[in-house]
Amino acid sequence: MKNRRLLLEHVDVPGIDGIDVYVKQGGYASLEKALKKMSPEDVVEEVKKSGLRGRGGAGFPTGMKWSFLAKPEGVPRYLVCNADESEPGTFKDRYLMEKIPHLLIEGMILSSFALGANQSYIYIRGEFMYVLNILEKAIAEAYAKGYLGKNILGSGYDLDLVVTPGGGAYICGEETALLESLEGKRGNPRIKPPFPAVKGLWGCPTVVNNVESIAAVVPIVRDGGDAYAAIGIGRSTGTKLISACGNLARPGVYEIDLGLSVEEFIYGDDYCRGIANGKQLKACVPGGSSVPILPHFLVTKTATGEDRLMTYESLAEGGFASGSMLGSGGFIVFDEDQCIVRNTWNFARFYAHESCGQCSPCREGTGWMEKVLSRIEHGQGHMHDIDLLADINKKIEGNTICPLGDAAAWPVAAAIHHFREEFEWHIKHPSEAQTRNYGLIQQPVVA
């Protein structure tokens, strides 16, 4: 099927969450191949060739990240899978783990082998307890089959794999906060340097990768890095899970080939099938709540009139003036009835709630923005609030310990940039704004 090629190929096969069905569909073949025919360096090499970029949001090349891992003599190394998925609009990792848990486990074993880790962790969001149970069952099956534990498949390679739940904090998805939490401490992001590749879990060299990044290692090893790199465009190779939500006729999790046009993704029959209830598209947040919002005329086309594609590069085309980011693949669509002010306030509320509170710009700035936006939404805004928000943004951006500060600032900055007149309308018509929404943006703002 067009929208499920590598990772989700067998997702609808009944019983695929059990090891027997998974193996029957070709599961653990990559593991056999790697352990019997490849060295750890060979696996790293294939991942490098594949061009795979981190699927957790930042898009950092996975092969390169792996090659940065420090390898001091006599010190253990760790692989930690980031399954904290808490970004609003993002629900692809959960879907993958729930439906086809062995894909993640096979990917974990392959990746741990490549990195020389003998103890690996899956750190899962605290609210996903039922997914944790699914994973633990799958891990027990993998141990029973000899895919985990001592001397895996007679190769002499040992690996133990543990799933650990977080306490339910978005910030614990930031990799160093995750490591703190995994060590049993308060999940405050660490001050970098040192980076996890040098000093990570328990002070040892550590790689943290997203669920989808790790799962993608399975087809990369099976088909070779070149075959994976043949899918996609330029530096956006392979397939990407997109969790599509909002006012779409058919929301859900899709596996797309990178390079698909946004137009096709939103309106195509194989994908979201257009806006629900025959309404018009008003705006789109293409990569999870942390990325800039795009007004309707910049969603399927860039500012220069080119087709917008689902790639890291094309979604970012135009920078903050007229572009956004692929981010985590949380694709949120708003129809003409949605209120941008209310949505911006809602996101701001999330970040204010989830800031760890360690550094002053984020702790105070996120709370401040939330309060100002709440006033505007509830009919108590002033015109000077709009510039105030823009200024608070500038004072947070780049000045914080971890990227949560930026993630909180950018959506507000972008909403004001593209929908300023809607904010002004809210302030000028406070009582009307309580009873109806502004509707479609009237005039394309020249970026």
Binding site: S355, S360, P361, R375, N399, I401
Partner: protein
């Protein structure tokens, strides 16, 4: 091999691995960024308040590209050939002003009834970088003051979450029952279920607190600090070094603090940080308890050093006796 770094046009040589802030302190004067959370005597502190942000105009001799973001000077190590702008950068000034605005956003501005007034780092910073008017129109968050044991008062409203006191609790006491609860702007210093910090050295949390969030209950509301005369004093103590500053009015000792340097940090004496034990700090308030050597020079720029007694500018005047 020493590395060379230039800060505000002044070159200095430091050990590799030194932070930009400590390199700047080696130069001194205007090159030194303000530090509200970093505390050189407490390993692990720093990186949180962001008042020490500086601009790196050239990363190193090997890679002279500028760093795109401002960096926290307290937790960024220098590289050979690094060029840093602090006082000379407009961008630093603006962003530091932003940080100060954030720190003051929810601050109660109750300086008139705060024991820290006059020696508060936030007051100094607000004076240098703050604006006279606030843009914060929202309701300020409030907490009830709580007692941390019978000697220390916590006014969470004034706290800037620098985490210094947490590190004191971590590093000076064996059983930490003091930490941070909650997240974001609801984060608060807590003793975990308000359990008293029972430790001979807990009083040092008062000395490291840059604001009036942790104050000495034995001194509360007794006097404004600038009416008191700081005197260097010593007593023989089995728990600590016994070297302190006693703050006197006439012949009465109003409070006892550690001896602090120009950055407000407890001094090293004979190679060891001169932390005070609670016994010396809270239980010895009679002039007979101490050998009083003479006036203490307060060389930190602050309201008290503007006062009527000794500063580093003028020779100490003996006022006692």
């Amino acid at each position: 091999m020493m590395v060379k770094v230039t800060i505000d046009g002044i070159e200095v040589e430091v050990e590799p691995g030194t932070s930009i802030l400590n390199a700047a302190r080696k130069i001194g004067g205007d090159a030194v960024p303000p530090a509200m959370c970093y505390y050189s005597k407490l390993p692990g502190t720093g990186g949180k308040c962001r008042t020490c942000l500086v601009e790196v105009a050239a990363g190193s001799a090997a890679d002279p590209r500028p760093m795109p973001k401002l960096v926290a000077s307290c937790s960024t190590p220098v590289q050979d050939g690094m060029v840093v702008n602090n006082k000379t950068s407009e961008r630093v000034h603006n962003n530091r002003g932003g940080v100060v605005e954030f720190l003051l956003a929810n601050h109660p501005l109750d300086c008139p009834i705060c024991d820290q007034a006059g020696e508060c780092h936030l007051q100094d910073l607000g004076y240098e970088h703050g604006s006279a008017k606030t843009r914060y129109e929202e309701e300020r968050r409030t907490f009830d003051p709580i007692d941390i044991g019978n000697k220390i008062k916590l006014h969470m409203n004034r706290c800037i979450l620098c985490y210094r006191c947490v590190f004191v609790a971590n590093q000076l006491t064996e059983n930490r029952v003091h930490g941070v609860l909650h997240r974001g702007e609801h984060a608060e210093i807590s003793t975990f279920i308000e359990q008293a910090v029972e430790n001979d050295f807990s009083g040092n949390m008062i000395d490291v607190c840059p604001v009036g969030a942790l104050t000495d209950r034995t001194f509360r509301f007794k006097s404004r600090v600038w009416f008191l005369k700081p005197m260097e004093a010593e007593r023989s103590c089995t728990k600590c070094c016994g070297k302190a500053v006693v703050w006197m009015f006439g012949n009465d000792i109003y409070r006892v603090t550690a001896r602090k340097d120009k950055y407000g940090e407890v001094e090293d004496i004979d190679g060891k940080t001169a932390w005070l034990c609670n016994d010396c700090r809270f239980e010895h308030k009679s002039a007979n308890d101490w050998n009083i050597a003479g006036p203490r020079v307060i060389n930190r720029h602050s309201v008290i050093s503007q006062g009527k007694y000794a500063t580093s500018m003028e020779k100490p005047v003996k006022r006692i006796g």
